[in-house]
């Protein structure tokens, strides 16, 4: 039990966001020798960020990091405040008044813009929307995806593109026992899609997939993954790049693509078609997407900084669905300097900076700090760095009369916010697991915030 006198002397830290980077920041703070009290603020009633709503439903093992987050959340010096949105229910300025330091861990949930003619046609979406939809994220609950045509095109060749491709290509029966949202399962069960293109602007040596994710796309039952042999030929610069010992993942990817290039295209119910050195120049259609126009690119520049330049050679692929997966950007927070070019908060190793000057008591971690790179574990090292810097600044911090949650809760109550505690979340968790049982699923997520809150009202 927390000693009251000790509590007065505690370093009150607010962490905004409850994804991996937020939880690893909490872990690093709790493992330090400082007397900390952590309040984690989350916009949704549910914790775990992209582990819950990003990691694909057919990759349950990756979600096991939740076991660690649960341990952290049960720590006596940790509070979860769900259903609290910074900027709506409480401001950054107010949190700086209630807490000694803020760690912003809100991720990067804006898509990089593409500005493609025809982008606004029905059937053109971001991968973010599609992923949020099949994972039951309340923001994307009511999106509609029409899969009643033969061909889908995914723009981008990173691991999100791989997830989206797998969900579209996989026999639906192999998803039935996952925690995929029921509304998505119903639509996928009716899917008429036969071909999924996955296009990249540079060559096969530049695809961002981790080899593991790419290899998996070649092992889906009744699906053939293909590539064009002529597109798997490398230029001299790419050969130099692959000769670098740090580039082992790209070497593996190329091996896999070359194997795909030898596959018999006539086999399988569905095909995955990798294409390289092509960029979309426009979507065609009356009201709906009917085709995508791709320009052939030429790689220019020296090894390790080759860029794709479009040529005037184009091709048209008929399709009914286009999903863009070309990267993410953080969303600016009021009063916090933002690096527009990188789409992250301006920071040096996790200290938010205004120009070169650190802003006192303001820190950032995860995708909002470094950009949308890496996987779950990358955030642990990233948050360790941010917390090390925070703690080394502590001696110079004004530890004035800030009382953390005791000052924050009255603000939220005054505004009528229904704060969701960690034990509230555990009730939602149990109910989701119970709902999943009848369908043989590990859980059936609630996909509307109202549903979650009414469960807590009982």
């Amino acid at each position: 039990m927390l000693n009251r006198d000790k509590s007065r002397g505690a370093l009150h830290i607010a962490i905004v966001g409850s994804g991996p980077s937020g939880f690893y920041a909490a872990e690093a703070l709790l493992r330090s020798d400082q007397h900390v009290q952590i309040d984690m603020i989350e916009r949704l009633p549910t914790p775990y960020g992209l582990v819950r709503s990003g990691v694909a439903p057919d990759h349950p093992k990756l979600k096991q990091s939740i076991l660690l987050y649960e341990q952290i959340a049960r720590h006596e010096k940790f509070n979860f405040l769900g259903n609290v949105m910074v900027g709506r229910d409480v401001s950054i300025a107010e949190l700086r008044g209630t807490h000694h330091a803020l760690v912003l861990a809100c991720g990067a949930h804006d898509d990089r813009p593409m500005a493609l003619p025809g982008d606004d046609l029905v059937g053109s979406h971001t991968a973010t929307e599609f992923v949020g939809w099949y994972n039951g994220h309340p923001d994307y609950r009511d999106r509609t995806f029409d899969l009643s045509h033969d061909v889908a095109v995914i723009i981008g060749q990173g691991n999100v593109a791989a997830d989206v491709c797998r969900i579209l290509a996989k026999p639906v029966d192999e998803l039935r026992n996952s925690d995929i949202a029921e509304h998505a399962l119903d639509v996928l069960a009716q899917s008429e899609i036969r071909e999924v293109y996955v296009v990249g602007r540079r060559g096969p040596a530049h695809a961002k997939f981790t080899a593991k994710e790419l290899r998996e796309l070649g092992t889906i039952s009744n699906v053939t993954a293909t590539a064009k042999p002529e597109e798997c030929v490398l230029n001299d610069q790419s050969e130099i790049e692959l000769g670098d010992r740090s580039n082992v993942n790209a070497v593996k990817n190329l091996e896999i693509f070359r194997r795909f290039a030898t596959q018999d295209e006539t086999f399988g119910k569905r095909k995955i078609k990798f294409r390289f050195c092509v960029s979309p120049v426009g979507l065609l259609g009356q009201e709906r997407v009917e085709a995508i126009v791709l320009a052939r690119n030429r790689l220019e520049g020296p090894a390790f900084s080759q860029i794709a330049r479009p040529t005037d050679q184009t091709e048209k692929i008929s399709c009914g669905l286009v999903l863009r997966s070309i990267g993410y950007r953080g969303v600016p927070l009021p009063g916090v300097p933002f690096d527009t070019a990188r789409g992250v908060l301006s920071n040096i190793a996790g200290r938010v900076v205004d120009g070169d000057e650190p802003m006192a008591r303001l820190y950032v971690t995860g995708w909002l700090k470094r950009g949308p790179t890496g996987i779950i574990g990358t955030n642990r090292a990233d948050s360790i760095e941010t917390v090390e810097n925070l703690l080394s600044d502590v001696s110079a911090l004004d530890l004035g009369s800030r009382s953390g949650i005791q000052a924050l809760l009255p603000i939220l109550e005054r505004r009528g916010v229904r704060t969701v505690t960690f034990s509230d979340w555990l009730k939602i968790d149990v109910a989701e697991i119970e709902r999943g049982k009848k369908n043989g699923k590990p859980r059936e997520k609630f996909t509307r915030i109202d549903e979650m809150l009414s469960l807590l009202a009982d």
């Binding site: 010992r245 779950i376 090292a381």
Partner: protein, 101 residues
């Protein structure tokens, strides 16, 4: 298939992997690190951060490294978890250049 620490870690023990592990699956003795195959979630975050490329996904592992599967399983069970990055072993720099990294 789990991930495996192999002999390149011996006399190095850089522990970058430990900081990047989302589930605390590394164990350590005085020589090197080992992965608990029952805890590892196969995310692969550790692979690219190892300065001497000591860690493999079993699927990608050269045949001559196969004995390390059993060694990781046995040693990880016998040894304590290592959860924080530590200084490399004093022999790390020499070992690193011996391995050509």
């Amino acid at each position: 298939m789990p991930h495996i620490v192999t002999d390149n870690c011996q006399r190095c023990r850089f522990t970058e992997c430990v900081a990047h592990c989302p589930v605390a699956c590394f164990h350590s003795d005085d020589e090197q690190l080992y992965i608990d195959p029952d805890v590892c979630v196969d995310c692969g975050a550790c692979i690219p951060v190892c300065p001497v490329q000591a860690i493999y996904d079993v699927v990608d592992m050269p045949d001559d490294k196969t004995p390390w599967i059993a060694i990781n399983a046995q040693r990880s069970r016998a040894l304590p978890i290592i959860n924080d990055k530590q200084d490399p072993l004093p022999t790390a720099e020499a070992r690193c250049s011996e391995l050509g990294f």
